[in-house]
């Protein structure tokens, strides 16, 4: 039986899709059979970040509406044999994402995979609710910024009240905090909430800290999940997060500013 992971946040633009792609790829790199599903109906993006946009024929909504079989809609990753992508529809609206349809797909995928990663849309409406409903674990992607922290708190409340586990009285969804777009220098100068601050506010176990990095843009430009950007801070930070997710112990990295020149320190920069 697969574990179902939802990557969620409430707020948009915080790094859910980037994280879903990196995480799913990272799990597949570790030889887990993994599928990553785009739940952002109407705003398809995961295919671009994964670099498979030209191979999309059928999508999640086609499968739900019986216009295609699941096997026809699954796209095998270019680099990793263990990884599949289930893209969403760019044209339909999110009402097509029925509860029964999603449940049937989850059930079928659970037979064949070790991990199902659900890339949630922003908001707290249908799409986001469907994406989190079946979750066993949740990665709450948060930026060190007031509205993102507030929205994360909201989505944590929703996970605890409206997930399948909550509704059936099963053990709760296991929540993980992933702090992304972190800028250690700004934290040091008191302009950005620190990882400790956010953890204290959200009271959710920390899975990792992903630094703000230009590498992310280079990766998405090319359709390469960030974890493949060998040797970069973001790739290593995502690897650490996956290791912790799998129960390994990894010290936090990239949360302190790099050494800076005396000039810059004195006059700001």
């Amino acid at each position: 039986m697969a574990r179902i992971i939802v990557v969620t946040s409430g707020k948009g633009g915080v790094g859910k899709t980037t994280t879903s792609a990196a995480f799913a790829s990272g799990l597949a790199l570790r030889n887990f059979r993994t599928v990553v599903i785009d739940f952002d109906v109407g705003l398809r993006n995961l295919d671009l970040v994964m670099g498979c946009e030209r191979r999309v024929v059928y999508d999640l909504i086609n499968v739900i509406q019986g216009e295609a079989r699941l096997q026809q809609a699954l796209i095998r990753d270019r680099q990793l044999e263990q990884l599949y992508i289930l893209p969403t529809s760019q044209t339909r609206d999110k009402e097509a994402l029925t509860a029964e349809g999603v449940a049937a797909i989850m059930e079928e995928l659970q037979k064949d995979f070790d991990y199902i990663v659900c890339d949630s849309p922003a908001g707290i409406e249908t799409g986001a609710l469907r994406a989190l409903y079946h979750a066993d674990e949740a990665i709450v992607v948060t930026n060190p910024e007031v509205s993102s922290v507030r929205d994360s708190d909201r989505i944590i409340g929703i996970l605890q009240a409206r997930s399948k586990r909550a509704e059936t009285g099963d053990s709760p969804v296991k929540e993980h905090l992933l702090l992304t777009r972190y800028a250690p220098r700004r934290v040091q100068s008191g302009e950005m909430l620190s990882v400790e601050d956010v953890q204290e506010l959200l009271r959710t176990p920390l899975l990792g800290v992903i630094p703000e990095s230009e590498t992310i843009l280079q990766a998405s430009n090319q359709g390469i999940p960030a974890i493949h950007m060998k040797g970069t801070d973001v790739a290593q930070a995502y690897e650490d997060a996956i290791a912790r997710f799998l129960g390994e112990d990894r010290p936090l990295r990239f949360t302190q500013p790099e050494k800076q020149s005396l000039f810059k320190r004195l006059f700001g920069g």
């Binding site: 007031v146 922290v149 507030r150 100068s189 008191g190 506010l201 004195l266 700001g268």
Partner: protein, 89 residues
């Protein structure tokens, strides 16, 4: 923080302000879920009070508020200026 800020600035750092604001708003919003009963309670209180006192529906308000470490339940009833006699039971 730059050299100049260092000497001029005794202001609170903006991250600290952010944290304080978030502390308050999260505490408030987390308790909001438990406040769903308020409208119902307001209705029932109104019914009880109206049995004994001549008050209009919109003259009563119920509020649950956080003040520091306390939750304060506030009940406001506005009476008409001319005190009418209570209705006969």
């Amino acid at each position: 923080m730059s050299f100049l800020d260092y000497f001029l600035g005794t202001r609170k750092k903006s991250a600290e302000v952010a944290k304080d604001r978030l502390r308050l708003i999260l505490a408030h919003e987390r308790s909001a879920g438990t406040q769903d009963f308020l409208p119902q309670m307001q209705e029932e209180l109104l019914a009880v009070i109206a049995k004994y006192l001549p008050v209009e529906r919109d003259r009563i308000s119920v509020n649950l508020e956080r003040r520091g470490d306390f939750e304060v339940l506030e009940l406001n009833v506005l009476f008409p200026e001319k005190q009418a006699s209570p209705p006969k039971p």
